[in-house]
């Protein structure tokens, strides 16, 4: 039997024989779905990517933020 087939059977039989493991995998998959398909997609867009297309634009924007902030108290 080839090595690849051995590895395949190792994983296949391992997954097949799981009981508690199946429940845990379900939790992992549901969690990943909530995280990536719901949270990331609807609530956590990459802020700079939604506003700018190039690295140059992003860098310019951040530099603008860094130089335009007005502290509340004047200093000499």
């Amino acid at each position: 039997m080839g090595l690849i087939k051995k590895i395949y059977l190792f994983y296949r039989n391992g997954f097949k024989e799981m009981i508690l493991g199946k429940k845990l995998w379900k939790i992992i998959l549901i969690k990943l779905f909530i995280m990536f398909a719901i949270l990331k997609f609807f609530f956590f867009p990459d802020y700079l990517n939604t506003k700018f297309h190039t690295d140059r634009e992003k860098g310019n924007y951040v530099l603008e933020q860094m130089t335009q902030y007005a502290p509340h108290s004047p200093m000499q």
């Binding site: 990331k40 802020y47 933020q65």
Partner: protein, 514 residues
């Protein structure tokens, strides 16, 4: 001119704290329990006794449950970086890219490969290869932690980088300095050994419960011996590395040290406050007493901070307003330099826009003179350079107090285990039972000390948290804050429920995640 909406900053902070603190429930248990499983299995392979196999499989199952529930909870932190902390993410992308990519590779190749053998491999691979896989999972899990702590250590002590004003990014110029940053090294050792300690308490808690109930007595006693030895060793490491950490903090983040000790006015031969109640009316720079009541240990803070009985330890007032006698530059003076750096950066930006190369080069030259103070330029007043004192002060003292108790607990469990009288010590077993909850409080307190104690900085001295955030509507962050709260609570409840079921099943039926 841009003004920062502080409610955005504070909600983003709160959301990050919530996510990180929930994530931190699962991580230390993974770090420590993986090694305990490796110890149990090593004993089984060496002795060939079936009871050690049952013990190994039982704890391995609990490890698997914790791993499955906790895995990927840290990814949410990365979502938050991109959305809530976009300025920060942009600026540190080059620094964090390498360590986090390495972490991903380690996690994938070491954990994913050997994790499968660990759970599917019983009776399918040789005993020795299975044991090797268990050790690799332990080593891999802990190596993953190295990289995230390298990133965190850099934020606390930014080294091995230069700021590139053309791209507005910090760029790595020495991988070696980044990885061997003394703050990162002491942070990794302290954090991982505290994870070992926490997992040992976890074993103590469940085993004590079995002993109280009179179930699985022999298995529980054997588990306790291994956990007590590991916990005792880990406690010594935690104490030693805590000392190293405190020294590094005193050298690199003296404000944090002053805050966690409630030290407003610096002093020579500085004592450490063993127990104390802070005066809540005390403000930076006023003449009120710092404490309502306190018990001190003479000289100890000077020794801890500078390894000298007589050394001067600066207080918050010295660091905010400066102290000429001891050559300490205050935040007020640094703010002037910081604002000059911002002005020069603006001149550079405008000259670059006008394509005036000579003017841009001159502005850049001037910027470099004060760039180390850049972050101070964004502070509104010198007092803003100090963190809120009460939170890190109490968190630090809770952490140290509990950290002192744990080795005594492990020693007592080990002593009575060796004498074979542990089951008779009905006063000790309830203490063992609650110990994991105390451990969790100590773990979370440690996070609070590290992260609240370094406020107001996202990157120490270079970028305050308020400048790291995105221009968002605070309502968006509030909504996701409560969503996370719900999601994480649900995951925690699921973990506890599945674990309790497994614990109630006990040793005989455990193993293989079946």
């Amino acid at each position: 001119m841009t003004h920062i909406d502080l409610s955005v900053v504070n909600w983003a902070r709160a959301q990050f704290a919530l996510t990180a603190m929930y994530h931190w429930i699962f991580v230390p248990l993974t770090l420590g329990l993986s090694f305990l499983c490796a110890f149990f299995e090593s004993i089984y392979v060496r002795t060939g006794k079936k009871e050690w196999l049952s013990i190994t499989k039982f704890w391995m199952t609990l490890f698997g449950i914790n791993f499955a529930i906790g895995v990927a909870t840290g990814i949410i932190l990365e979502f938050e970086f991109g959305t809530n902390w976009s300025n920060y993410s942009w600026m540190v992308g080059d620094i964090f890219g390498a360590p986090l990519a390495i972490e991903g590779l380690f996690a994938f190749f070491l954990e994913a490969t050997f994790f499968a053998v660990m759970f599917f491999g019983w009776n399918r691979v040789s005993k020795r290869f299975h044991l090797f896989s268990t050790w690799m999972v332990a080593v891999g899990s802990n190596l993953s932690a190295v990289w995230i702590l390298v990133a965190n250590g850099w934020m606390q002590n930014p080294v091995g980088m230069v700021f590139n004003p053309n791209t507005a990014r910090f760029e790595m110029n020495s991988f070696f300095k980044l990885v061997f940053n003394p703050v990162a090294v002491s942070k990794f050792i302290h954090t991982s050994s505290s994870g070992f300690l926490f997992a040992s308490l976890f074993v103590l808690t469940i085993s004590s419960w079995y002993l109280i109930k009179g179930r699985h007595v022999e298995m529980a006693k054997k588990s306790i011996v291994v956990a007590a030895v590991f916990g005792l060793l880990a406690s010594s490491f935690v104490a030693m590395t805590g000392d190293t950490s405190a020294y590094e903090v005193s050298q690199k983040q003296p404000m944090k040290l002053a805050a966690i000790e409630g030290l407003y006015k610096g002093q020579t031969k500085a004592p450490i406050v063993a127990l104390g109640i802070l005066n809540t009316d005390k403000k930076v720079g006023d003449n009120q007493k710092s404490f309502v009541a306190k018990i001190e240990i003479p000289y100890l803070l000077s020794i801890l901070a500078n390894h000298s009985f007589t050394a001067f330890v600066p207080g918050i007032d010295d660091l905010v307003y400066g102290n000429k006698t001891y050559g300490i530059e205050g935040a007020a003076s640094k703010m002037v330099k910081g604002r000059k750096a911002i002005k020069d950066l603006e001149l550079f930006k405008n000259a670059r826009k006008d394509k005036n190369t000579a003017k841009a080069a001159a502005a850049l030259k001037d910027f470099k003179i004060n760039q180390a103070y850049l972050g101070y330029g964004y502070l509104d007043k010198p007092e803003e350079a100090a963190p809120p004192v009460a939170v890190p002060y109490y968190a630090f003292h809770i952490m140290v107090g509990l950290g002192t108790l744990f080795p005594l607990l492990f020693a007592a469990f080990l002593f009575f285990s060796i004498k074979n009288t542990l089951v008779e010590k009905r006063w000790l077993l309830p203490l063992g039972f609650i110990s994991v909850f105390l451990g969790l409080i100590a773990q979370e307190s440690g996070w609070v000390v590290a992260e609240v104690g370094r406020q107001p900085w996202a990157i120490s001295g270079l970028l305050p948290v308020k400048m790291a955030t995105s221009n968002l509507d605070p309502q968006n962050i509030q909504i996701t804050f409560f969503m996370f709260f719900g999601l994480f609570t649900l995951l925690l409840v699921a973990e506890i429920k599945i674990m309790l079921k497994q614990i109630s099943t006990g040793f005989e039926e455990g193993g293989d995640l079946k």
